[in-house]
Assembly symmetry: C2
Homo-oligomer: 331 residues x 2
DNA sequence: CCTCCTTACGGAAACGTTTCCATGGCTGGA
DNA sequence: TCCAGCCATGGAAACGTTTCCGTAAGGAGG
């Protein structure tokens, strides 16, 4: 592979001059510039990233650590983050924690070894020593959608309160009073926030909530199905189900079908925090809060870039919209 | 940030000895080993990856270039690839081509600059100069699911012929003779293979195919909906639709609904290459070929690791399974 | 007891950049 | 015409590793 030394030799200039043409682009004559660029083209020279990173003490790489890239929310977010990062001259190194604190730790170590310039982080519930070390190391960090209490990094995430308000308003319009709520882990900030907003909102509307209609899963389909099942076991009646994230809703719908049969299950209206593209095809269609994963990814990268540049980043709550699919078959 | 020099000083050994303990771990006494490891722990030393990469002329990074990470097939594949790579001591750098040849080129350049050790590649249709240069550079490459004609890199991908056979068998069981086929771009190898297998299979079954029932989109929902629309415009009757990939099926279903209304659309059975997790909830449920993205990702990484180690890699066709969801409501 | 071999270690070179410093030539003003 | 100043350039140091080479110490064998 050609090095800058080869380029310089071919262009008939000193190594330093070649470097100035390629990076600094200052202090160079038009003549040497032309000759260096010609040499680059002839040799197909591509600068050695590691060498450059070593010398400049920066890598132009951002780390993105999410819990599961297979979750459509995160894959959309990752896509948007990557596009935005590219526009700022950064490459994104993606890591999957697999909802597993140990893997998250391992990746944080890998990121540290790679000397990433900044971290986009959607944390687990627990604060491990490695997480603490990362946050203490002075590395620029922004949180995406989930945060850790008491850490001074900005959060870019869904406006959970607004989304839950939209659900509550919809429930009221549709005349649902007895609603089963399947939440997520309280240890994840979004789980706690959505549950709190739901209960507070009901109270504000002056509706009491039967505790037997509340349960929580793990934000995955399996745990949500079990939670739904437990509610059914309690023998309380309800006319609607509210799933606190996309996979939770999927699990709930599955459990309803399995337990009640398709016909009975179709009598229960379902509403979801997170919109999945098949909700329009469910019967009846599932209404949902759409949270804007793309904007979150984009804004998160912008915030991180600001942080790296030494500017302040304040974090932002991204507004939600509501996809009301119930109008098509008013009861 | 602590360097290996600091570690050596604190351990009271020479820099070279510290390095030997940390990497080679050969030719070191138990005493200095213990002291170096203690110093590492005390200082929280994490080796500088770029410096190491520069010296060793390898990065332990694999590049993964897919067309769109939001496609569930690729996000599952990426997840599996990442897990497998980690087990072999590699990190994965993920790039999204966005089904755009120019972006793919740009990422290939970035990969080259990063000096990745190997490339997992799900190529676009066109062979750009940059792609050619990459393939010619001697970088170990494996193709994932899509290939480029005449390139000597192994392919790890779905067994398209088998999957299509499963669809044809199902169509026959269900008694469908007039089937609309929505394919993908012929320029993408999977598009061409699935179409060819479908037509050949029908012929083998002795069923003629009305050309007006064949059309193709772009493997995205939008293009597929347009293709479906064109078929409807031709006024030919059909009792089933076969979508050549997941998003194609989504687009087709959408177009059927929009054009015919939900009720009429439900009379047409849909079958898909690629299974999406909502197909079970569609009405009627959509049967589908499941292709094993995880295995493809895993096997691809293993093949690439073999290639990097100088061993041969042969490529592999991963078998499909078929999710028959029609039994639930036999007509 | 001496010599030879092994083994651990210290020192230094090398990887490919960027950037600092010094030098030489040229321009412009007095 | 001379001098001050600027600009482009060459040369070299530095980034943090790994690895090569030489050497000293220690053990074994004669």
């Amino acid at each position: 592979m050609a090095t800058i030394k080869d380029v310089a030799a071919r262009a008939g200039v000193a190594l330093g001059t070649a470097s100035r043409v390629l990076s600094g682009s200052s202090q160079t004559s038009a003549d040497s510039r032309a000759r260096v660029l010609a040499a680059v083209a002839e040799l197909g020279y591509i600068a050695n990233g590691p060498a450059r990173s070593l010398r400049r003490a920066r890598t132009d790489v951002l780390g993105l650590l999410v819990s599961d890239i297979r979750n459509p929310f995160f894959s959309e977010l990752a896509h948007a983050a990557e596009q935005e990062a590219r526009r700022h001259g950064y490459t994104v190194l993606l890591a999957n924690a697999n909802e597993d604190a140990e893997q998250a730790d391992e990746y944080l170590r890998t990121f540290a070894a790679q000397r990433i310039d900044g971290l986009l982080f959607s944390p687990q519930s627990t604060v491990s020593p490695q997480v603490a070390a990362t946050l203490a190391s002075g590395l620029p960090v922004v949180f995406l959608n989930r945060t850790i209490e008491g850490v001074g990094a900005p959060l870019y995430g869904t406006d959970n309160a607004q989304g839950v308000q939209q659900v509550l308003a919809w429930l009221q319009r549709r005349g649902h009073r007895d609603v089963a709520f399947i939440g997520g882990p309280d240890s994840i900030s979004t789980g706690a926030e959505r549950r709190a907003a739901y209960l507070a909102g009901r109270q504000a509307h002056g509706i009491s909530t039967d505790d037997r209609l509340l349960d929580a899963g793990d934000f995955l389909a399996g745990g949500a199905a079990e939670a739904m099942s437990r509610i059914l076991d309690r023998g309380v009646t309800f006319t609607a189900v509210f799933g606190a994230n996309g996979l939770t809703t999927l699990g709930a719908v599955r459990a309803l079908r399995d337990r009640l049969g398709a016909e009975q299950a179709a009598r229960i209206e379902v509403v979801s925090f997170d919109d999945l593209d098949w909700f329009e095809f469910a019967s009846p269609p599932i209404s949902a809060v759409r949270n804007d994963a793309s904007s979150i990814g984009r804004l998160g990268v912008r915030g991180l870039v600001d942080l790296i540049a030494g500017r302040a980043a304040l974090g932002q709550r991204v507004p939600t919209t509501f996809a009301d699919r119930s109008a098509q078959d008013v009861r």
